[in-house]
Amino acid sequence: MDYLLTDEQKMIKELSHRIAEEKIRPVAAKYDQSEEYPWEVIKVIAEAGLFGLFIPEEYGGMSPSVLGLCIATEEFSRACGGIAVCYAASALGTFPIVLFGTDEQKKKYLPDLAAGKKVAAFAVTEPEAGSDASAIKTTAKKEGNYYILNGLKHFITNGGDAETYVVIAMTDKTKGARGASAFIVEKGTPGFTFGKKEEKFGIRASSTRELIFTDCKVPAGNLLAKEGFGFIVTMKTFDKSRPGVAAQAVGIAQGALELAVKYARERFQFGKSISTFQGIQWMLADMATEVEAARALVYSTARMVDAEIKDVGKDSAMAKLYASDVAMKVTVDALQIFGGYGYMRDYPIEKYVRDAKITQIYEGTNQIQRNIIALQLIKEMAK
């Protein structure tokens, strides 16, 4: 399908496709096994200038575009969903600064992030605050020119490897959701340490760690927006980043589909290529149709975000929900086409199933996405 991409978007696709094929695919299995952070690939992406895709030109980036980010994330995910998320999670950690940072904060943090010299992370989730972000317990107490952070964040993507963190903490517990604030916290700040690194089912090239704050002194100048804006920062950030997660899902599904078509052509049973069997053909046809539908939804949503259309929450949720469900189904079907070989680690397809699963869970579970969609539907009808 032709998505009528601009020349710049076509270049992003061409370049990220090359990076995926030449630099990511050959090392995908290695990092899946070792669970090490793929710095060698991050360096390549940085040199190609693709960390600049979500940062304005005056701070060292390109003209920021969510569709551009989606295209790059999709291409990387075709080769490895884990390495792709290291990249996309840096975008997630950068968006709050781009959206709410002062000029001074932007000048201080964005150039290094645009150059890929540093990666970023966004820290909202806590052991008891997953889908219910209002249950956040991490506190930030103002003392003179500092905020003192105490608490624990967990399941933080890029945790430990990122240099720049945006952390959501409660400045006023009595106000509930309106008592949360967002802070930029640098790695190495006294009182900021890392807990255990999670061993994961999929996206194993990415790092997921606990962040521990023990009387961590953060300069008051690192507060993003104002006190009490923490949830607005979070929601606006997710509006920008959700199409990226959906694009990751599309990329994983596309990668699995391509492997399945290739395998079906090469695998002979009963004296014929299994791609000549209608049972296989229909599976492939359904998979391809679903991937294309998901992509169309994701690109449309990304374009809406880039056009700064208000209230993209429902569309963003639809894109993330549909693309991740498609990724799960398509990867499972792709493995089925590989048969017994597909179940073995020697073949690349089982990794796609593992990598796909997280896209139904993170940045809002698909159940939460359905809540968002349904509430908006009902609200629209009540108008």
């Binding site: 270049m11 370049l15 190609a48 200038g49 600049g52 895709l53």
Partner: protein
């Protein structure tokens, strides 16, 4: 440091087909790429520029479509590009090609270093680089695998030999040809790709260059291609299996009989 990198656009295939009547390459239907060895030349040029400042000008002689190769070089970090293009240059052998490129380089003006790939993947002659240095009367070092040092208008270079390497000091301006061991070419950057799309490529024809008409194109090419053929494939060897003394005995026997 002003650097000139000479590149060639070649067909992307290791199975080059030859027109048996004209003894020339069949280019139709084959995608064109930058000669792989020239990618190392571009990368080395860009690295030296990044280290010492200056600029990289990339030059090629070829048909109008070679513009694409020059744009790719710009996406990889080259600053300027010159396409030497004229029907009068058609049929040039390595002598006429290096004479013509030398003419273009004279027109570019001052430079410190010329870098070429060690050879082109289609012709495999490795003669154009040395030819250019001869026509320009500057020193040359071929098969460079490392630039050790650049100091006071001199370069210290490691030259790859079949066994080991030589260390050579070359005064500048000079010319080097590079082997693939010298670096790992980078991928283009997004900014580079965007710059290359709008970059202005300078195109020079015969009239733009001060060249002897008798020394260019087919008539300026002393090379005569008499015959082109595919060498016969090597037939398989013979495997001797057994313990060492048995194998040695059998080998001696074979050598005696075969030599006889």
């Amino acid at each position: 440091m002003n650097i000139i990198v000479c590149i060639k656009q070649v067909p992307e295939t290791t199975e080059v087909r030859i027109n048996p009547e004209t003894n020339t390459l069949i280019r139709e239907g084959v995608k064109s790429i930058i000669n792989p060895f020239d990618m190392y030349a571009i990368e080395e040029g860009v690295r030296l520029k990044e280290k010492f400042g200056g600029k990289v000008t990339v030059v090629t002689m070829g048909p109008a479509q070679a513009d694409q190769a020059l744009r790719e070089a710009i996406s990889l970090g080259a600053d300027d590009a010159v396409l030497v293009c004229d029907r009068a240059f058609a049929g040039s052998d390595t002598w006429a090609t290096s004479y013509t490129l030398a003419g273009a380089i004279k027109r570019i003006g001052s430079f410190d270093l010329i870098i070429c790939g060690k050879q082109a993947s289609d012709g495999d002659t490795a003669q154009v680089g040395p030819g250019i240095s001869t026509h320009l009367d500057i020193p040359q070092v071929t098969y460079v695998k490392k630039v050790e040092e650049v100091k006071e208008a001199k370069m210290r270079l490691e030259r790859m030999m079949e066994e080991g390497f030589e260390i050579i000091e070359m005064p500048l301006p000079g010319l080097i040809t590079v082997v693939k061991e010298i670096n790992e070419p980078r991928l283009p950057s997004l900014k580079g790709m965007m710059r290359s799309k709008n970059a202005k490529i300078t195109v020079w024809s015969q009239k733009d260059l001060d060249l002897d008409p008798q020394s260019i194109g087919l008539c300026g090419s002393p090379t005569q291609v008499v015959k082109i053929f595919t060498p016969p494939q090597r037939t398989g060897g013979q495997m001797l299996i057994g313990d060492t003394s048995q194998v040695a005995e059998r080998l001696v026997e074979l050598l005696k009989n075969e030599v006889a």
